[in-house]
Symmetry: C2
Subunit: 232 residues, 2 copies
DNA sequence: ACCTGAACACCGTTCAAGT
DNA sequence: ACCTGAACACCGTTCAAGT
């Protein structure tokens, strides 16, 4: 009758699996993650994972969402509230500062875990943290006075840029081998092999330059909109 | 003595393999490509591929480079030649038009073969067509008067944006399922499930808006540079 | 409920063997 | 030189069996 009151605590939990998977991705890359290797790191056998996740992809999605959850969104909170057209010195462009701060926080989160970025790039899908990000950006931009269609586009194009900078590190893409870039074939790539060692510097400079250009361009569009011009 | 003058033509060639691999990637996605499946499509057995490529990754790199080779670079040819500071109406910003045309050509090439983009995102490495692209952009920007460090950054940030728009299609990332986006969790995503069906439209709009903003921002920096201001 | 070993249908790659 | 079948060391996932 009185059955044996289940003494053993479960060995696994979703959180423990996600943590171990994240550590494995960070340390050895996406392709190093197999269900058998992950299970071994957790001290269990491969199939045990399927008691907590339906597929390996669901585990990787959870790892990606844990990274998304570390993106700061607090800068969007006050956007568009007091502002209006001419409150202080800046002319109601607090959306710009928020976007800039958010972009940096987003990029930092991805830079801490570059190996998981391809999974993150698959899109928000049903990942709650990624959806919170999309929601916050859209909400703040509309609150700042951007029409809904523009707010959607801003969320998308910022995502393109930030994701692109994380997934396609420019400098990392070049090989640290002088012989790889023959001047006869590529007349302007004489220094390209040096890019490999200056990786961080180049990618950070490009990110800052691009982000500033993007925000400058959006400010111009915002002003044109305020002046009542028809959007393109 | 006179050995049997080799009658049979080779069944395989690098080109035939790359073509079949590209077709398979386009039709069924990256993860559908296995050496056995690819070989079967070519009417040979799996290991035969290793007579022409050292690894499966090398095959995928070749497929990616074939896509890069379809990017038009002709718009960079005359950049900076006649121009200078005040030749015609535009004030010597032909680099801007070239960059815009190139960005569109690049995006179109990627949009035709979205499944191979993750491979392309690994960087130019030793892929000749990708290196020709990097070479052409850098050469044209320096010819137009950008300092070398800026030209490098422009190549990188344009790559971020274009690659990001291809790899992380914004609209494709949302699920066509109203129930997935509970208004209690995501107050501003009430229409998000509609994004899935308006995918092309949203992504194209975001790309155009972002590209224009980027180029507007770069033009501002270019003018500041011409005026002799110290770069940030 | 949660973990196990065995099994299935796959992988990428190597290698000795054939022509 | 180029293709083959057999083999090795892996995969993700299912499932009956144990507790």
């Amino acid at each position: 009758m009185w059955r044996m009151a289940r003494p053993r605590k479960p060995l696994l939990s979703r959180d423990r699996i996600v943590e171990a998977a994240g550590a494995l991705v960070d340390a050895e890359g996406l392709e190093a993650v197999s269900t058998r290797r992950l299970a071994a790191a957790l001290g269990v056998s491969g199939p045990s994972l399927y008691n907590h996740f339906r597929t390996k992809d669901e585990i990787l999605d959870a790892v990606a969402d844990a990274v998304s959850s570390r993106v700061d969104l607090s800068m969007f909170e006050g956007v568009g509230a007091g502002g209006g057209a001419g409150s202080g010195g800046g002319g109601g462009q607090d959306w710009r500062c928020a976007l800039q701060a958010w972009a940096h926080s987003y990029r930092d989160a991805l830079a801490d875990h570059p190996n998981i970025v391809p999974v993150l790039a698959r899109g928000p899908g049903r990942r709650p943290a990624a959806l919170r990000v999309a929601d916050a950006v859209f909400g703040a931009m509309t609150a700042a006075g951007w029409p809904a269609a523009h707010a959607t586009r801003i969320g998308a194009l910022m995502r393109y840029f930030i994701l692109g900078s994380a997934v396609g590190s420019f400098a990392r893409g070049f090989v640290d081998d002088r012989a790889a870039y023959d001047p006869a074939d590529y007349p302007h790539l004489g220094q390209a092999h040096l890019l490999a060692e200056r990786q961080r510097e180049v990618d950070e400079g490009a990110f800052e330059t691009g982000l500033e250009a993007l925000l400058d361009g959006l400010s111009l569009q915002y002003e044109a909109l305020r002046r009542g011009e028809r959007p393109a």
